[in-house]
Symmetry: C2
DNA sequence: TTCTGTGAATAGGTTCACAGCT
DNA sequence: AGCTGTGAACCTATTCACAGAA
């Protein structure tokens, strides 16, 4: 498949969110653009990479387009997700409704702090991170969320990679080294604040 | 000032993080690139937008470059930050050490849930969100973090904008409408997982 | 020789504008 | 007439490649 840009994929996600809330049977690229904060040409271009889903003069059939985008994004299947790091951030993520709604199910939580191991979090018992490889051998996961301190993130990621995890969402503020066939997204909140600082400083 | 791309600003943030950990007195664009996961030409280009900080044949003086980047990013001053939304995510953010380390000080927390108002969070008392405008009139903040449910985010943002906040870090999964002179960064975690899902589905 | 700073070349993403279907 | 699908034009970001300073 032709290489699709990250920005296109992110916009598809945004369109999907609005399509799921749309009550009309059809929607135009213009309206979808307005909702998603982009242009109608951009919407049409984004969709055109994957096919011709609209009807000229009419727009897009909402249920069909919804299904198509879910399919493109790979959301028709559900995902088992393991969480490593039972700190504050981990706690917030386990609770976060947005994940479950979209078919991402957190199936296990790991930490190495003895005080946390064994405690119950949202119905899941926090397990010792040393069990990670064995557990994943029995019950593989495609996706892991890393919410550990910066110091331990890389070593956790090495374990995850060895265990066959192919996609990692990283909240630790360090870039992670992974083989080419593993995808990492790092969310670095301090960095986001710094871009805001930059925009305040340069106006 | 000439328009600088968001990606350049983000990379400067990354370089800064590594410069602060570097022990050698000078560093080359090549080394900085290796650490930050980019190319040496990119590093030099990024820096060249702001001046000539290096010495040919030698590299960059670490303390000077650190200072320069902190200055470019506007990090030499500290920021007062208000947090709206005392849920799980808000809790994680209040605790997050990365903010304070970089000079972002959370000075107040707001919520509208009566059960949360008055409780103490990391030394701060959660205040009723209806006090927001008045409080900000007395003690202005440049930056706000919004960690409310999607439904209330826009109305909170409207209050913030009226109160003179110029930069918003948004964790609610909705695009926000703000005037052109207000900067918004939205961090949408479900969307990040969806880009991972896409990459798993299309390999 | 090493490594920066920077124009020039290339690649990539966005917008334009219009032919063509409904 | 209304709105999609898409090549072409445009604009922006990245990479190349080399002159020049240490």
């Amino acid at each position: 498949m032709r290489k699709i840009s990250d920005s296109t994929v992110r916009r598809l996600s945004v369109y999907l969110r609005f399509l799921e809330q749309t009550k009309t049977p059809t929607i135009s690229s213009r309206e979808l653009a307005r909702l998603g904060g982009t242009t109608s040409a951009q919407v049409r271009k984004d969709l055109s990479f994957f096919g011709s889903f609209g009807k000229r003069g009419l727009g897009y059939a909402v249920p069909e387009l919804t299904r198509r985008i879910r399919d493109i994004l790979g959301l028709e299947r559900g995902y088992r997700v393991v969480l490593v790091g039972a700190g504050r951030m981990g706690g917030a993520l386990v609770q976060y409704q947005g994940f479950k709604q979209r078919g991402f199910h957190i199936t296990a939580i790991y930490d190495h702090d003895a005080r946390k191991i064994g405690s119950r979090w949202n119905g899941l018992v926090v397990r010792d991170v040393t069990h990670l490889e064995n557990d994943l051998k029995k019950d593989p996961s495609d996706i892991a969320i890393v919410a550990t301190p910066a110091e331990s993130a890389q070593q956790v990621v090495d374990r995850l990679v060895r265990s066959g995890v192919k996609a990692i969402l990283n909240f630790a503020p360090v870039p992670l080294n992974v083989p080419a066939d593993v995808e990492v997204k790092t969310v670095n909140m301090a960095l986001e604040l710094e871009t805001l600082s930059y925009s305040l400083a340069n106006r």
